[in-house]
């Protein structure tokens, strides 16, 4: 293969407009083979990015990305598309910052406009302890060369004039962590760009095919699974595939897949809800997050306000919207921006999040040879997609854990060596 996917250019647009010809399909629907070098479970952003970098950076193309639904049907098509790198731990900051730099060049690399809007990101503090955490984050960030600083309420008002920064509110704004490189990206475009890129290299994207079991031999657990075992392939609704390497990129469903290999995970699955208003004139220039009020908001280029919150408190695989969410959301958003009380919500939706105890991901090798993890993405896996794919591909290709993810291994839970990211990741987006 080698050559780049066909260009989306102004000339192509004119030509297709005049001839009304069909656009080429972004990816094929290939026949599934009965063996691959690598099987990736989950055709979300993470699975597709991993496949793309395996091909692009390491020439590994005998790869299948298998999904029980369709490309981007999980969290990757449901998120609120916020990217940033102002995390709390040095490991987290280095990791997310690499992702941000991949996002910056992505439109060129994938030849697809991903509409990265680098509009800045504000995390509001309403309490002394929140303000203390913001200062802590700012210092960690600056040490690693990240543009991040604490600003006062007047400066907050300059960044986002619609915010109520008066002292008479129930939760006055005491300051904010300001992170100019943060922003929003068109999430579907990112998924499609990686899918198209991987497909172009010859990778098979197999949709509507559910993985039912992972075949493991020689393990110490029931059925020869678990620690000490070796992966031989997967069983799917379209038959068996043999493969020496199987990667779990299933986010909210990660535990179900990992239990198939006999590798239990430190994960619980919680829904995260989001909502969007009718469009209105653009007035909100940056992303605004309030941890204390459990809400965040940004405005799309079309003028809709996109809201999110914290995960639903009860773990479940059911993704229905709840009245509790809309009620709380409306109350808290109006606390911040009383001016939008007449706006109407258009839609609300929900997706599954794989929450870990320390709010950091679980990546890399496991006690089962050939079975790798890329899970625990909670509510922050969109911004991490590019770097997760890049580092995981490197790990698979070289057989050595990539440096950037060396502290995210599953063994940290047995060693008691957690990477506590809660102060920067809970409701942080």
């Amino acid at each position: 293969m080698g050559k780049r996917p066909p260009k989306y250019s102004a000339a192509a647009l004119v030509k297709h407009g005049l001839t009304r010809g069909d656009w080429p399909r972004m990816w094929r629907r290939p026949e599934m083979r009965d063996s691959y070098d690598v099987v990736i479970i989950g055709a979300g952003l993470h699975g597709l990015a991993t496949a793309y970098y395996l091909a692009e950076n390491h020439g590994i193309t005998n790869v299948a990305v298998i999904d029980k639904g369709y490309v981007g049907g999980g969290g990757s098509g449901r998120n609120t598309a916020i990217v940033r790198s102002n995390y709390l731990t040095p490991e987290g900051v280095a990791f997310y910052d690499r992702s941000l730099s991949l996002y910056k060049t992505m439109a060129n690399d994938l030849n697809l406009n991903i509409m990265f809007s680098e509009r800045g990101h504000l995390t509001l503090a309403h309490t002394d302890s929140a303000l203390r955490t913001m200062h802590w984050r700012a210092e960690v960030n600056k040490l690693q060369g990240i543009d991040s600083s604490v600003i006062d309420p007047q400066e907050v008002k300059e960044q986002a004039p619609s915010l109520d920064v008066s002292e008479n509110t129930r939760y006055p704004i005491l300051g904010a962590l300001h992170h100019p490189p943060g922003g929003i990206v068109r999430h579907d475009a990112v998924v499609w760009g990686y899918a198209r890129g991987a497909d172009h290299h010859g990778t098979h994207i197999i949709q509507e095919t559910e993985v039912l079991d992972i075949n493991v031999e020689g393990g110490s657990g029931p059925g020869g699974k678990g620690a000490g075992g070796k992966v031989t392939g997967v069983r799917t609704t379209r038959g068996d595939i043999s493969a020496p390497i199987v990667v779990n990129c299933t986010a909210g469903w990660a535990s179900l897949i990992s239990n198939m290999a006999g590798v239990p995970l430190p994960i619980t699955t919680h829904p995260l809800q989001a909502a969007v208003t009718e469009p209105c004139k653009v007035f909100l220039p940056t992303v605004v997050v309030s941890g204390s009020l459990h809400v965040y908001v940004s405005q799309t280029d079309r003028g809709e306000l996109v809201f999110g919150a914290s995960v639903d408190p009860v773990g479940t695989y059911r993704v229905n919207g709840t009245l509790e969410f809309t009620e709380e959301l409306a109350g808290h958003v109006l606390e911040l921006m009383p001016g939008i009380s007449k706006m109407r919500l258009l839609r609300q939706w929900s997706g599954l999040c794989d929450m870990t105890p320390d709010y950091s991901p679980v990546m890399g090798f496991t006690p089962v040879e050939g079975y790798l993890l890329d899970v625990g993405w909670g509510t922050y896996g969109f911004k991490a997609g590019p770097v997760a794919g890049e580092t995981l591909a490197e790990t698979i290709a070289t057989g050595r854990t990539a440096d950037l993810i060396s502290s995210f291994g599953i063994e940290r839970f047995t060693h008691g060596d957690l990477v506590g990211e809660k102060g920067a990741a809970a409701v942080g987006h």
């Binding site: 239990p264 995970l265 994960i267 619980t268 408190p313 009860v314 773990g315 059911r318 509790e324 839970f413």
Partner: protein, 82 residues
């Protein structure tokens, strides 16, 4: 909305209570190895289907109790004080 039956207070909205997660047996801290202890702390089955779990009646009688809940439908059955 999930309605959770507290053995003491009757049916309540789940928001009044706290879900303490799936029941797992606690190893004896004086004999458990570090590995066993940390597995108890962190590893979860997180099944899609019936799970036996503990709830805390935070906004009511403040007792703990056990129920079975289907994590796909949020249907609830059985209930006993724990």
């Amino acid at each position: 909305m999930i309605i959770v039956p507290c053995p003491n207070c009757g049916p309540r909205n789940s928001g009044d209570l706290q879900n303490c997660g799936e029941n797992i047996s606690r190893p004896d801290p004086s004999t458990a190895s570090l590995v066993e202890w940390r597995e108890y702390l962190y590893m979860r089955e997180n099944p899609a289907g019936w799970v036996t779990e503990t709830w805390y009646c935070r906004g009511g009688c403040r007792r703990y109790f056990t129920i079975q809940r289907n994590t796909v439908t949020n249907e609830i059955r059985g209930q006993e004080a724990s």
